[in-house]
């Protein structure tokens, strides 16, 4: 009797609309983030462990321009894309020549340098206390979307407009990147992943292509950063922890290396799991629940890698053929 009641209580969140809206908003955010990681590791074969750093660069650029310089939101958004891409070029120029694990370490180091700088340069970034006050343009847009939804008979709900916008952005970007990867440009990237020397011997300037792939991923990270920044209304350095990059990798492995449909499915799957553990009523302290969530992420990553490296949508034959 009490068991059933307990079950009813702990899984009640599944019927909670706000839970699903939240999952949707976060899944689309991390999904856009993971599109960049997929482009880098799944398509191009470069181990970008600094995606969280690019996200930070883009987001903070936007935030600082709006809050400190009073720039228009849309201009600031554009500027953030630019600085993220520029950061990618800056990081990539010296380190893309290096072997894969060295590149991984360099990008991780870059990501941490960004976080440390954001934490310590209080004057510019608000440091630990955070940067806020850039959401005016969004608030107006959000109210307008609420109005449109109202016309369609949908009652206004917190974060629903953001879900709508995020979903649109995510699907459009996923389709766009998938299209790019199917083009001759994407073919070169695939070749680089397979065998860079072969691509060079066939006349491709592989260094330039890798730089382009990294820059595009950085721009995607910046967009994901905007989505996150608007969601939580405040930018702080601890948001851009390397665990975000780890999430991105889990999503990519889960969905299958090289599959952009997989990124869509993987991001919803992962975020659902993470958010569900947050809503489930466990007899544990908050911090311990948080610890469990991270343990789960790590364990899922390990299990996937060992038992289903091709993920949900990867092709097993392709995996067997790699490096043959």
């Amino acid at each position: 009797m009490t068991g059933a009641a307990l079950l009813g209580v702990t899984f009640e969140f599944l019927t909670n609309q706000d839970f699903w809206i939240n999952v949707g908003v976060l899944a689309t955010t991390y999904g856009v983030f993971a599109l960049g990681i997929q482009l880098n590791i799944g398509t191009t074969g470069i181990f970008n462990f600094g995606q969280a750093g690019f996200m930070a660069v883009g987001s903070y650029t936007m935030g600082i321009l709006v809050v400190k310089s009073g720039a228009s939101f849309w201009l600031a958004v554009l500027a953030g894309l630019g600085t993220a891409a520029a950061a990618a070029i800056l990081v990539g120029l010296p380190s893309l020549r290096l072997r894969a694990d060295y590149f991984a370490i360099s990008t991780l180091a870059f990501s941490e340098i960004v976080r440390y700088t954001a934490d310590n340069w209080d004057g510019l970034t608000g440091g630990n206390l955070g940067l806020f006050g850039y959401t005016d343009t969004w608030n107006d847009l959000s109210a307008r979307i609420d109005g449109w939804l109202g016309h369609l008979g949908i009652a206004p709900r917190f974060l629903l407009p953001l879900l709508v916008v995020n979903l649109a952005i995510f699907l459009v970007l996923a389709a766009f990147v998938a299209l790019l990867v199917r083009s001759p440009w994407g073919r070169v990237l695939n070749a680089i992943r397979e065998d860079e020397d072969a691509a060079r011997a066939l006349g491709k300037n592989t260094f330039a292509y890798k730089l382009q792939s990294l820059s595009l991923a950085a721009a995607l990270a910046a967009i994901a950063g905007y989505m996150l920044a608007i969601n939580i209304s405040i930018l702080s350095p601890q948001t851009f922890d390397p665990i975000l990059t780890a999430y991105g990798f889990v999503i990519v492995i889960l969905g299958g290396l090289g599959s952009y449909l997989g990124v869509i499915v993987g991001s919803f799957f992962l975020i659902f799991m993470l958010e569900a553990t947050r809503y489930i009523d466990l007899p544990l302290s908050d911090e311990r629940v948080a610890a469990v969530r991270f343990m789960i992420v790590g364990a899922v990553l390990m299990l996937l890698v060992v038992f289903r490296p091709q993920g949900l949508f990867g092709k097993k034959e392709e995996l067997a053929l790699r490096g043959r």
């Binding site: 790019l180 001759p184 073919r187 070749a191 065998d195 020397d197 011997a201």
Partner: protein, 259 residues
């Protein structure tokens, strides 16, 4: 030196640490000829190959392609200029189809530029033309039926053919073949040689190849360059080289392995 030399190697040197892998090597490759680079193991042939094709950075010297310097240029630049190489351990891109392997090599495709890649109409025409060329070449090499298969499913011999066909997509002026017959059975070997000689005959492609099979080399090449211990020991026509004492001692001085 030779007026009709398309590829000139001049005083090229490369050392790894204290070891001179390539020591002041000079020779010419005449246009439209098949020139073979031979020598015992460890002679420095592959290092020289890598230096000429830009995969290894030479220490000093000069390499001229039709009078233009190509020394220390990156491999992709050389490939675009018509200096194309194949690899001894074939580099078929396994997870891509045979056709995609060929399309990758097509030299002028606007769709390869990021700015234009998303706009299919801009490169659709070029892609179609490249596809036609690729299919023709695959037909010539007997791989047409495999066009849509993963390159990784090809046999070793078929991969050698693909490697050669793919190199031809680049319309090379000089083709550098790195042990094209290594590990290949006699029938396939004969087929490959036919293709190679056909290239010389029909397209006046200049060919420089590294090869261990002396029999093949003597019978099919126009000129031979012999290397030993990083140096050029002799060069000339097969007849001249066969009689050269230095060549004989270079080979006798080491144990040669026969396939």
């Amino acid at each position: 030196m030779a007026a009709d030399a398309l590829l000139s190697v001049r005083n090229v040197s490369k050392r790894f640490g204290a070891i001179p892998a390539v020591d002041d090597v000079t020779f010419d490759v005449a246009e439209g000829s098949i020139t073979a680079l031979i020598g015992p193991n460890g002679a420095g042939k592959s290092t020289l190959f890598n230096v000429v094709t830009g995969f290894v950075r030479g220490d000093s010297g000069e390499v001229l392609l039709d009078g233009q310097s190509v020394f220390r240029r990156p491999p992709h630049t050389l490939a675009r200029r018509g200096l194309v190489r194949t690899f001894q351990l074939t580099k078929a891109l396994s997870v891509m189809s045979v056709l995609d392997n060929m399309l990758l090599a097509s030299p002028r495709n606007r769709g390869e530029r990021l700015g234009l890649a998303a706009l299919r109409p801009l490169w659709r025409g070029e892609e179609r033309r490249a596809r036609e060329r690729a299919r023709e070449l695959l037909q010539v090499f007997g791989l047409a039926t495999k066009a849509n298969d993963y390159a990784g499913t090809l046999s070793g011999g078929q991969r050698k053919l693909l490697e050669l066909a793919r190199a031809l997509m680049l319309e090379p002026r000089v083709l550098l073949l790195d042990e094209p017959l290594a590990g290949v059975n006699r029938t396939l070997g004969r087929s490959l040689l036919e293709h190679i000689e056909g290239l010389r005959a029909e397209r006046r492609t200049t060919i420089l190849l590294v090869e261990h099979d002396l029999d093949v080399v003597m019978r099919h090449s126009d000129a031979i360059v012999v290397m030993a211990q990083g140096r050029v020991v002799a060069s000339g026509t097969p007849a001249e080289v066969r009689r050269d004492e230095r060549v004989i001692s270079a080979y006798l001085g080491t144990v040669t392995t026969d396939e």
